[in-house]
Amino acid sequence: MCAVRGLSKTYPAVRGRRGAPGTPEVRATDDVTLDIRRGEIFGLLGPNGAGKSTLVRQLTGLMRPDAGSVEILGHDIVRHPERAARILAYLGQESSALDELTVSLAAETTARLRGLDLRDARAERDAVLDELGLTAIAGRALKKLSGGQRRLACVAAALVGERSLLVLDEPTTGMDPVARRAVWSAVDRRRAERGSTVLLVTHNVIEAETVLDRVAVLDQGKVIACDTPAGLKEQVAGEVRVELVWREKPPLDVPEVAALRDRAVESGRRWTLRLAPEEARVAVATVTGGAAFAALDDFTLATPSLEDVYLALGGNAQGLVKA
């Protein structure tokens, strides 16, 4: 469906001016190779600045790569970027082109610009607004809506008119659970009824685990892993995540706790440890019994998540969202 080979893009270094430091050269995508299959929901996961959006902009014909090729449904997008608009629908992070339109006109105009005639555009508009629960606010300008509602209206504009590939860059940002569910069921319906393929950009690990068929993990412009969420998690199956929250200070006078400290990632009162199951059992026994228990506020024991995979692969997970 979509084949990416050796895609690279380097942003040139910016020379510092008075008062503003320069930035060094950045390899936003570094020799990226991917295959997206027809009908799957494929995810790009990584923290801010990992190169997800740059990669997507190259796939949608918005940016020319320095090297490499992008082929979507047999069309060379690097050579013919204008064809991308006739194959895919793109939801970017910006809504400034639609901000001053009403929800209804934003969807209708987008449908018309996607080549539909007036009657079809209006029928599609009504169907999509109904599907996403936007009919009640159809007459309001996007600018006057809350962030989540505005994002939902942009999703409506992206979904209007049929496309084989949907490229969605963080579609559910700022949405409440009801709106999120509406988006995912609308996406699922397009896949089931029309065989649409979805390329999803996210930095939300929970979302990635629940909606994606396969996921490519990006770090500093490189694909560091690509598999199903379950397949990726198997890589760290031998580990258990232990989280300890101390009341005030960790009881470092307990020798077992002091020993654990070297392996913990500390953030405020919270310690996160990745341990083998046997070690985890011992650690939990230590902190829940004896002197350490008095200092303990809370603890959790969990099987690994995609965040753990990301860390195990050597990524810097600080920009990932767990909600």
Binding site: R38, G39, R64, E82, A97, L113, R194, D213
Partner: protein, 275 residues
């Protein structure tokens, strides 16, 4: 495209292996020029509901203010009065068409909003012409109001005021085309704003004041500003016996500048959309 109906897709991950050797898939339809231009025009026009004050009122207040101010130094019914009234009226077109449109496209480009249009199969000319047309339309009430108010204030005949029906679209094409081109070519939104402001200032300073008192260098500069030809055409029609050939000539210059600047803007759009 591998043609597999949804029914045969496995229920797990719905991915299916790619069919080999089927060649390139059929592309979706292209949006044709006129329907998509109409859609962009209509969408842009509707923005006036949300941004009514900057798009419709500010320019009119400014021009009416200039008329009142100039009434103190220019005699009613005089030759100079024609230029003051014509200049203030065309200034509305310069403010909205050139200045505001340059700002709009500058901001759209700077914020990444152009991506929305660039990922739709719409001809660049449709986006540029639709937006420029809408901005030219925003100037109609303000220009007409300024012209009527000016005629009353300076005691000028209103018999030929219908010429605005030609001046507004043609000066609008020239100035909005220029505004769109500047907005899309400026590397940063602040520069687009600055260029739009400068263009409007030029139209103000060189359009409202009568040309015969200007030094040669300034008069040459005045000839370079497209709004001048709109002002000249309109001012001419206040005469007892207007020279219609001259009016037509001036309007033709506006039309020519309009065609060239809109073409440049469409080219600049294409360039700005794919980086």
């Amino acid at each position: 495209m591998s043609v597999v109906s949804a029914d045969v897709l496995p229920s797990g991950p719905l991915a299916v292996p790619e069919a080999v050797g089927t060649g390139a898939a059929e592309l979706g339809p292209k949006a044709r020029l006129w329907p998509s231009m109409a859609a962009v025009y209509r969408a842009q026009l509707s923005r006036a509901r949300v941004a009514r004050i900057p798009l419709l009122f500010v320019a009119t207040f400014q021009s009416v203010g200039i008329l009142i101010m100039m009434r103190g130094v220019v005699d009613g019914g005089s030759h100079d009065a024609r230029f003051v009234v014509a200049g203030s009226s065309v200034l509305v077109v310069a403010y909205v068409g050139l200045n505001l449109l340059a700002q709009y496209f500058g901001q759209l480009r700077g914020s990444g909003g152009l991506d929305h249009y660039a990922t739709l199969p719409v001809p660049p000319a449709a986006v540029v012409l639709g937006a420029a047309g809408a901005y030219a339309s925003f100037t109609v009430p303000g220009t007409a109001l300024t012209a009527v108010f000016g005629c009353v204030l300076f005691g000028l005949p209103m018999g030929n005021i219908w010429i605005l029906a030609a001046v507004i679209p043609l000066a609008g094409a020239a100035l909005a085309g220029l505004g769109a081109a500047l907005g899309l070519l400026a590397p940063r939104p602040e520069l687009a704003t600055l260029l739009g402001q400068l263009g409007m200032s030029a139209a103000l300073l060189l359009g409202v004041l009568p040309a015969d008192r200007m030094p040669d260098a300034v008069r040459f500069l005045r000839d370079l500003v497209p709004s001048t030809y709109g002002v000249e055409a309109f001012a001419q029609t206040f005469a007892a016996h207007p020279d219609w050939a001259l009016v037509l000539g001036d309007l033709a210059v506006c039309a020519g500048v309009g065609v060239v600047s809109l073409a440049v803007a469409a080219w600049a759009y294409r360039r700005a959309a794919v980086r």
